[in-house]
């Protein structure tokens, strides 16, 4: 009887541990916060710190993008919330945007963040109802960031300097 119980407990433990390892290899978390946040998101108990998110939005609207990202990081330390990650990506876009050139490093980080946002969103579809933004979907933002990173003949079009920041 005791033997059966030990074997049953061992089986349950092993299956749980193996599932956790498989989850880690798929999710590739970068910090302990991402591990705990990811696990709580899996069971639907992950919550964003709304006060920190509001702080981040205030910085974002004042074009203080680095400060906004610090607040967003506090709001969503596990990088699990699609909306917060969308704003993180948008902050990289706006900070990296230039009339004459784009900052590729910031655009690449923005692309990484928007990919993360789309991966976390239900069906990969993310919509943000913010009248202050000209791009309100993950697809638009991703296309803009990818276009900024691409090298082609349109980069030499002088009319480019007239294009607006979105």
């Amino acid at each position: 009887m005791r033997d059966r119980m030990v074997r049953g407990i061992g089986l349950a433990l092993t299956l749980g541990y193996a599932t956790f390892i498989a989850w880690l290899y798929v999710q590739q978390p970068q910090s302990a916060a991402e591990v705990t946040g990811g696990l709580s998101a899996t069971i639907g108990s992950y919550r964003v710190d709304t006060a920190a998110f509001e702080d981040g939005m205030a910085f974002f609207r004042r074009d203080q993008f680095a400060a906004a990202r610090i607040a967003f990081e506090r709001a969503d330390p596990a990088h699990q919330d699609p909306q917060v990650q969308f704003y993180v990506a948008y902050s990289y876009y706006r900070q990296g945007w230039g009339r004459f050139y784009q900052d590729d490093k910031l655009f690449a980080q923005g692309l990484e963040a928007v990919n993360r946002a789309m991966a976390r969103a239900p069906d990969g579809r993310i919509r943000v109802d913010d009248p202050a933004l000209q791009m309100r979907s993950g697809e638009e933002l991703k296309a803009e960031l990818e276009a900024g990173l691409r090298r082609d003949a349109s980069d030499f079009n002088p009319a480019r300097i007239l294009r607006p920041r979105k």
């Binding site: 059966r4 030990v6 407990i9 061992g10 089986l11 092993t14 541990y17 390892i21 880690l24």
Partner: protein, 215 residues
């Protein structure tokens, strides 16, 4: 073998090796799944363990055992297979000529050890030497060659070395913690191999005598 060792200790040891065998710490943390060749080497290694008697599959899966016990046994074998693949993964350089050379050397050493049909202690000692040497070459020798030099003279020598080898020897730089984790993982893996249910000594001796008589 006790139920605790078979159902709890062995799976947890091998799964931990599977987890940490792919861990690489640099700017960020990456978990690398085993490459295809590591799976091939793992099959060979399990074959070697069975042949030398370090792993007795019939003590893990047998018609005389209960269904639950057989499931535990299958899990031990699967976990040992994955852990072996990850042990090769962590002990192999990440890129370039050293990676190819290491893989070839593993293949030759395993094939040679299988052909030699050593007994359990000799096979385990042989594995200790294989993984120990690989660890030293990867995390001590190659890491020293790949680490950015501090003085100008050392830097010049390093650039010359990279030029001569066409950059095919130097490796990506990992955080020192990766080496410590790798060391612990390999030790844990070898400990797991020692814990595996071995073949019955008497039966094994009979097999060895029969083999010698035939040859």
């Amino acid at each position: 073998m006790t139920a605790t060792r078979e159902a709890i200790a062995l799976p947890l040891v091998f799964l931990t090796v599977t987890l940490f065998g792919g861990l690489r710490i640099a700017d960020g943390v990456t978990l690398l799944p085993p490459p295809l060749f590591a799976l091939v080497l793992s099959v060979l290694l399990i074959g070697l363990l069975v042949r030398c008697g370090a792993l007795a599959p019939n003590r893990l899966v047998h018609t005389s055992r209960s269904m639950l016990a057989n499931v535990n046994g299958v899990i031990v074998m699967l976990a040992a297979f994955l852990a072996s693949a990850q042990a090769f993964n962590i002990a192999t350089p990440e890129s370039g000529a050293p990676r190819v050379v290491f893989n070839l050397v593993y293949l030759v050493l395993l094939a040679n050890t299988i052909a030699a049909s050593p007994d359990r202690p000799r096979a385990l000692r042989s594995l200790l030497v294989i993984f120990g040497s690989a660890f030293i070459v990867k995390f001590v020798v190659l890491a020293a060659l790949s680490h950015p030099a501090e003085g100008p003279l050392t830097r010049v020598l390093q650039v010359l070395f990279e030029g001569v080898t066409l950059g095919s020897v130097t490796q990506g730089i990992f955080h020192p913690a990766t080496g410590y984790v790798a060391f612990g993982t390999l030790i844990l893996y070898l400990f797991g191999l020692v814990l595996l249910p071995a073949a019955d000594e008497e039966r094994l001796n009979r097999t060895l005598v029969t083999r010698r008589t035939l040859t």
